[in-house]
């Protein structure tokens, strides 16, 4: 269990990236959802020992991640949001090197593990190629391979699917899902589907604050029967709806605008009910939070 308490971080420029975030993260996949700039990466970097929080603590069991960085790093598998590689090394070389760094000192064992990971991540056939020639997806899979090295107890993957094509993304999510159940895996993303497909639990943060925490199913259940849709023809029509209801999202479907609204009761007037999904949870929470933030305190 990873316990995060009251974490805050303000950057030297005055940007408050985290404002007293507290979270309980059980083993298994945990999704961290939020728009760009919400503070996800900051939180991840703090957990990955790359940043010092201003206040608060993060503990994995008894281990204080902030105070005891050396210990933390030994348990950690980290895939940053953006990373490069040494362009002239091959995947196998770099992975082997990282395995040494992660303390796998038995050469035979190391070889086995590295080769296993290369196969798992489907990089086996290109293992001897220079990393400089890898495509985005391959590089991303290499990233996950290195994050999985040496059985980490805490795996942090920051926006891993950004920029992947659907097939790549699929393969990538499959891989993530194969990670053992007793490991804490934190997956940050701004893609709702990632969380829906993978995570048993999730949290949403925006503007450095925690909006919601729980199982995706629960959150969806809470909205059951409260999401309504309507296809609108004109902007005027849309504006009219906006005045009387809280719009969750507007989608283009076949060139027409479909408006989804949240309403406890039937809005009538051409709306019909629909199943709530995680995206609705996401958008609704975001817009409520923004509305709250816009109000003068």
């Amino acid at each position: 269990m990873l316990t995060i308490q009251n974490l805050s971080k303000t950057y030297p420029g005055g940007v408050r990236a985290l404002r007293g975030v507290s979270l309980e993260i059980p083993p298994g996949m945990f999704g961290l959802l939020g728009p760009n700039g919400a503070g996800k990466s900051t939180l991840m970097k703090i957990l990955a020992t790359l940043l010092e929080p201003d206040t608060g603590s993060a503990k994995l069991g008894d281990l204080d991640l902030v105070a005891n960085k050396d210990e933390t790093r030994r348990l950690l598998g980290y895939l940053p949001q953006e990373f490069g590689v040494y362009p002239k090394m091959s995947a196998a070389q770099l992975l082997n090197h990282l395995a040494v760094m992660k303390g796998i000192d038995n050469a035979g064992e190391r070889k086995e593990i590295v080769e296993g990971l290369l196969q798992q991540t489907n990089l086996w056939d290109v293992r001897k190629k220079a990393l400089g020639g890898f495509s985005g997806g391959m590089k991303q899979r290499f990233g996950i391979a290195q994050a999985l090295l040496a059985n980490p107890k805490l795996i942090i993957v920051d926006e891993p699917t950004a920029g992947l094509d659907p097939a790549e993304r699929n393969r990538f999510l499959n891989l993530l899902s194969s990670i053992g159940r007793n490991v804490v895996v934190i997956l940050s993303t701004h893609i709702v589907d990632d969380v829906r497909e993978l995570c048993s639990r999730m949290a949403m943060i925006s503007n450095g604050e925690l909006l919601l925490e729980g199982a995706p199913g629960q959150a969806i259940d809470a909205m059951k029967g409260r999401i309504w849709t309507k296809v609108v023809e004109t902007d005027a029509e849309r504006n009219a709806i906006e005045k009387s209801f809280s719009i969750v999202s507007t989608h283009l479907i076949g060139g027409q605008h479909e408006v989804r609204i949240y309403s406890d009761s039937t809005p009538g007037d051409g709306f019909h009910g629909t199943d709530a999904d995680l995206e609705d949870v996401y958008f609704l929470n975001l817009s409520r939070h923004q509305a709250a933030a816009a109000k003068p305190h």
Partner: protein, 1199 residues
């Protein structure tokens, strides 16, 4: 459109801070060059540091080294669009190629001109600094700044900029631009090395094709006198014009090529850059798609460890990775290849030291290969320190890297190890290059242990110190380029600090004490100092690295606040290491300090000069005070080579020859070696100034005129511990050589006076006193070489360690071993000698021979047998010639003794010639027409036994030429008889070069030969030239007759001593009237010719002979001491020659006659039997000609 791009480029540059940083570089360099003594290339003397020549030279040098700035300005102008991928936006718009390229180029050009205008502004601002030496500054003269700026710097910017721009535009890769820069520079250095090493005096073509102008400058201004250097600009004519036009043309061609070949389309440009990458990616993709998906094996337990062996393995893995990061770079190998090329080329010339060829012995080869690799190894250390420190951040791997379970110090250590390993590999490459170049040179005595010692124990630690520093700086500084600038600045600062009197090497990072390897003495007494100072700096470096580890970047927050926060726990952890290194550095430093500052007195160069100046100020008043003269020296000297010490005692017999009673005796103890003095009568020390090595003794009973007195003394020099440089070269474990300087000197010693005018000004002294004029009543009676004696008798007991031989002048009377020491007794008997004696001791091998009744001996270092026979031959030929032509040899023996190369001369003591190991013992004549310097030097020193040990002049103007010029003439004569005219002419051509260059560097004023004072270029080079010219006019026998007459008349004269008035009279006596004025010109004035062949053609006559028509110009000028010239009417007999032969170096005379030339332009016709190829005036440069290259031209067939 053009205007738009131009202004865009210019605005961009003018907003960029780098432009102003670049500006500051030439500005600062020039500022210091003008305002600070010794910073610039102009040696202290009379040349104005802001005069036209000085500015020309500074601009040229700084622009040459500023080529890197030019690359940095022009390269990015075009690469920027490709790095930022803006080219796609740009080239899809309708813009013309000319506007785009031209605008970018012109903008860069203006920027570069602005940057280099720092030269002009720096120089001008420097002029007004209060600390600048006023006497070497002229008022600001804009033309002197602007003309060279335009003709050197701006043109350089133009064509180098065009070249760099061209390469950048056509390859669009920054790496290639840098590589090109490095490669050009290396090629230039290589060609320069070749040009310098071949040592040809005719450098016409190298001058024309010299892009940076170093050879060009030398060729144009080498013979400029001080007056010319202070008034004359390098004008747009001749060589300079051709060179500039050549390179402007190169620049234009580069620009045209750029414009023609640059593909102005986003498609082509994009495709080329990314096609390779895309192709590679596609291949990988395909390979991957073909593979089957695999399923994850269950997670398994793994053994993990982070200490002990695993830790070592981790560091090793990291080191290996970083090592390959460096060595897989193309740039790295390009730098290496350049280094290897330069090392090999320079290694090829390792034996071409100072114009003569010597065997490329290991110490010479080592100094050449390590010297030429130094810059590269330094660049690699500094450059890759930056790359390593920033590596993860540059490739954006830092987040993964920094969250690895690594200790803070193991990451840093791996960087240090990797870079050190790279340096070790490179140093090994240098070693291989050294051995290879020795082999290529046909020298197979590889001293591998010496290679190992020099390269791995002395050289490598210095590189490691640079590695430490560079890693430290790059860790601290948050910008790579600022880091590089700091490191470069640091290494520029060190010599500046040193010049400013910070000579304590404990405070100059990475500086080690200077040392010299000698075949005789090995690393000898330098070992201890080297060990301690190297250890000291390595520990300081290690301490710096602890600080660097503490402050190393880790994580995402690089603010200083956060770094300090991270530093605290790290520092706590590393305190033991920090303390250990600090303590070790402290111990080594303290021991070094103790030895260099406590056990030995430490004096900066300035302090030493100050003492000399004070000595002069305080005691010059005693210069002419009556002093007793030494008539006999009897000493006993015990040399302890293993301690680098000696002790001696003995006595001088002093006689009052002055005519007045002497009450006070003054003793100068210049080497601080005199322990005690006792007279044979009561004497009281009335003044002892040990700071200025001067003591006054008042005799209880004055020494009456003609009376004799005995003065006993004890002397010793004990070399304790070690020094920080300035080790006495006289004392060595093997190869001790010291002379009478270590014995008391009676009276004030003018030799201790400072002679450099700038240094004298610094000390508030007036100009150095000129030597007394000839006939000066006081100095006519003073011996030129030893004012405290006339002629002496000499007896010495010398002892040394059992395995060494000790030598002093005199005949060996006795040799015995007693108490484990080797004793010798030397006695000069009745033969009087000059008061000039030496003591040597070493483990010698001896070669013996005999000439008539004279014993010939060479004491040499075993292994240096190369030239012993030739040395013997030179001695015999010399004895033959000098006895036959001058006078009998006064001794029964002649000995040559080798001494370590800490000093590089040979010196003639009575029947004893110490001869440095560096100048002859290892000579090698590669080609039969190489000048045989060994033969010449041996003959020269032998000739001093006549000119210097039989004939000594008075201490007045001109007397030096009677020893040096005559020894030079004598030696050249026997060389001519041994090797023929060819070699002699070649040698004289170099003498002419040395003379003309010498007068260009004169710091006081140039005297005519017979008034020479302290000007070696006059007494050696001009002396040889005019003595030979005279012999050519009146005949060798006539000159020798005059010399013999003069010598016999003045042999052993002891007051009044002869001077050059008598010498000139002796010459005039044997010279026919038509050449009398030549004596005036050559000996008594400074006269220069500028003879030139204007045109030459031939027609074949009906009887198959060739009629040559030759037009020549003869000009003659008289110069004053500063080099101001005034025309003189020509009225001289000058050689006119017509030659056959393939080149100017191999000409066979068909006609060679002296013609009486009386007007500037003369046209002559001669008939010769063979087809002529060359003709000219004074073809063998017998006269002093400022432009000897144009004396001979090709003969053309007349149409």
């Amino acid at each position: 459109m053009f205007w738009h791009f131009f202004m865009f480029e210019l605005r961009l540059r003018m907003r960029s801070i780098s432009t102003y940083v670049f500006f500051l570089i030439p500005f600062t360099m020039m500022f210091f060059a003008v305002s600070v003594e010794d910073f610039g290339p102009i040696p202290p003397g009379k040349i104005l540091v802001n005069g036209p020549f000085a500015l020309f030279q500074c601009y040229l040098d700084l622009t040459a080294f500023g080529a890197i700035l030019i690359a940095a300005i022009f390269g990015p102008a075009i690469l920027r669009d490709f790095h930022q991928d803006t080219y796609q936006l740009l080239f899809t718009k309708p813009i013309s190629k000319f506007a785009y390229l031209g605008g970018r180029w012109a903008g860069s050009f203006v920027t570069a001109v602005f940057v280099f205008s720092g030269l002009v502004f720096g120089g001008i601002v420097g002029t007004f600094m209060p600390w600048a030496d006023r006497s070497r500054l002229a008022p600001v003269h804009l033309l002197w700044s602007l003309q060279p700026f335009l003709s050197v710097t701006v043109i350089q910017i133009f064509f180098l900029g065009a070249l760099f721009f061209c390469v950048a535009a056509l390859t669009r890769r920054l790496v290639v631009v840098y590589l090109q820069g490095v490669a050009l520079f290396a090629v230039y250095l290589i060609l320069l090395a070749v040009v310098v090493a071949t040592n040809r005096l005719d450098r016409f073509w190298p001058s024309i094709f010299d892009p940076l102008g170093i050879v060009l400058r030398d060729n144009i201004t080498r013979y400029w006198t001080v007056a010319e250097k202070n008034t004359q600009l390098v004008g747009w004519h001749g060589l300079f014009l051709y060179n500039r036009l050549t390179w402007i043309a190169v620049g234009v061609i580069a620009l045209v090529l750029t414009c023609v070949l640059f593909p102005m389309s986003a498609e082509v440009l994009g495709a080329r850059g990314s096609s390779r990458r895309a192709l590679a990616a596609r291949k990988i993709d395909e390979a991957e798609k073909a593979s089957r998906p695999r399923f994850a094996p269950g997670a398994r337990q793994v053994e993990r460890s982070f200490s002990g062996w695993s830790l070592i393995e981790q560091i090793a893995s990291m080191t290996k990775m970083r090592f390959f990061n460096i060595t897989r770079e193309v740039v790295f190998w390009a730098i290496c290849l350049c280094m290897i090329a330069l090392v090999m080329v320079n290694g090829r010339f390792a034996g071409d030291a100072n114009g003569a060829t010597v065997w490329p012995v290991t110490y010479l080869t080592l100094s050449v290969v390590s010297g030429s690799s130094g810059l590269f190894l330094f660049i690699i250390a500094a450059l890759y320190a930056g790359e390593l420190i920033w590596r993860e951040r540059d490739v954006r791997f830092e987040q993964i890297h920094d969250s690895l379970p690594l200790r803070d110090w193991s990451d840093w250590l791996s960087k240090f190890f990797a870079l050190s390993a790279v340096e070790v590999v490179l140093v090994s490459i240098v070693a291989v290059c050294g051995v290879a170049s020795q082999a290529f040179n046909g020298y197979f005595r590889f001293e591998l242990t010496q290679y190992a010692k020099e390269l791995y124990l002395v050289y490598l630690p210095q590189l490691i110190m640079v590695v430490f520093l560079a890693l430290f700086v790059h860790t601290l500084v948050s910008n790579k380029f600022v880091g590089h600038a700091i490191i470069i600045g640091f290494f520029i600062l060190i010599p500046v600090l040193y010049r400013y009197g910070v000579e304590n090497r404990l405070v100059l990072y990475g500086e080690i004490t200077p040392y010299t390897y000698s075949d005789m003495n090995g690393y000898g007494h330098f070992v201890k100092a080297l060990f301690w100072i190297s250890s000291y700096w390595l520990f300081v470096g290690a301490f710096l690295s602890v600080l660097a580890i503490v402050l190393a970047r880790r994580g995402a927050d690089l603010s200083w606040g956060n770094r300090m926060r991270l530093a605290r726990p790290r520092f706590a952890q590393l305190i033991p290491a920090a303390l250990l290194f600090l303590a070790a550095a402290g111990t080594c430093g303290a021991w070094f300090y103790h030895n260099t500052h406590v056990v030995n007195v430490f004096r900066t160069a300035k302090e030493t000069r100050h003492r000399q100046a004070e000595y002069e100020k305080l005691y010059k008043k005693y210069e002419r005070a009556p002093r007793p003269k030494v008539t006999a020296v009897d000493v006993s000297v015990d040399i302890y080579p293993e301690r680098r010490s000696f002790e001696g005692s003995g006595y001088f017999t002093l006689v009052n020859k002055s005519g007045t009673p002497i009450e006070e005796v003054y003793i100068t103890d210049g080497q601080e070696s005199v322990d005690g003095i006792r007279f044979d009568r009561l004497a009281q020390i009335t003044m002892r100034d040990s700071k200025h090595f001067y003591t006054t003794y008042k005799l209880a009973q004055p020494l009456a005129p003609g009376e004799t007195m005995r003065m006993d003394f004890r002397v010793s020099k004990e070399q304790r511990g070690f020094k920080d440089g300035n080790e006495r070269p006289e004392l060595a474990y093997n190869g001790t050589f010291f002379d009478r300087d270590y014995f008391p000197f009676v009276g004030y010693n003018t030799n201790l006076e400072l002679d450099n005018p700038a240094r004298r000004r610094e000390e508030g002294l007036g100009p150095l006193e000129e030597l007394a004029p000839r006939g000066d009543p006081y100095y006519s009676n003073v011996n030129l070489f030893s004012p405290d004696a006339d002629w002496i008798s000499f007896h010495a007991l010398v002892s040394t360690s059992a395995d060494q031989v000790a030598i002093a002048p005199g005949y060996l009377k006795r040799e015995w071993t007693e108490g484990g020491r080797h004793h010798f007794e030397y006695d000069m008997g009745d033969t009087k000698i000059a008061n000039f004696y030496s003591f040597l001791s070493a483990r010698y091998a001896v070669k013996r021979d005999r000439w008539k009744n004279v014993k010939l001996e060479i004491y040499y270092h075993p292994g240096h047998e190369f030239n012993l026979d030739k040395m013997m031959e030179a001695s015999k030929n010399g004895l033959d010639y000098y006895e036959k032509n001058f006078s009998p040899f006064q001794f029964d023996q002649f000995r040559v003794l080798e001494f370590p190369r800490y000093r590089g001369f040979a010196q003639s003591f009575p029947n004893t010639v110490p001869y440095s190991e560096s100048i002859g013992f290892i000579e090698r004549m590669k080609k039969p027409d190489d000048i045989d310097l060994l033969y010449f030097v041996t003959a020269h020193e032998l000739a001093h036994q006549w000119w210097g040990h039989q004939l000594i002049g008075s201490q007045t103007q001109g007397s030096n030429m009677m020893s040096e010029s005559l020894a030079e003439y004598s030696a050249l004569k026997i060389m001519e008889h041994r090797y023929g005219q060819e070699m002699l002419r070649k040698d004289l051509r170099y003498e002419l070069d040395r003379y003309l260059r010498g007068r260009g560097g004169e710091v006081r004023h140039e005297p005519p030969l017979v008034l020479v004072q302290r000007e070696p270029y006059v007494w050696y080079s001009k002396g040889s030239l005019v003595m030979f010219a005279l012999a050519d006019y009146i005949g060798e026998d006539k000159v020798n007759e005059a010399l013999r007459n003069f010598l016999m008349k003045n042999r052993y004269a002891s007051g009044p001593y002869p001077d050059t008035r008598g010498f000139v009279a002796a010459l005039r006596e044997v010279t026919p009237p038509e050449y009398q004025h030549a004596i005036t010109d050559m000996f008594e004035s400074i006269v220069l010719f500028d003879n030139r062949a204007v045109s030459a053609s031939y027609v074949e006559t009906p009887d198959h002979k060739y009629k040559v028509t030759l037009a020549v110009k003869g000009q003659k000028r008289q110069a004053d001491g500063s080099g101001n010239e005034s025309p003189m009417a020509i009225d001289d007999y000058i050689d006119i020659g017509v030659f056959s032969g393939p080149s100017k170096d191999h000409m066979k005379p068909l006609y060679l006659q002296k013609h009486h030339i009386t007007q500037e332009d003369t046209t002559l016709e001669e008939i010769v039997d063979e087809k002529p190829t060359y003709a000219g005036i004074d073809p063998y440069f017998k006269l002093i000609d400022r432009n000897p290259e144009d004396n001979v031209i090709e003969v053309e067939k007349k149409k």
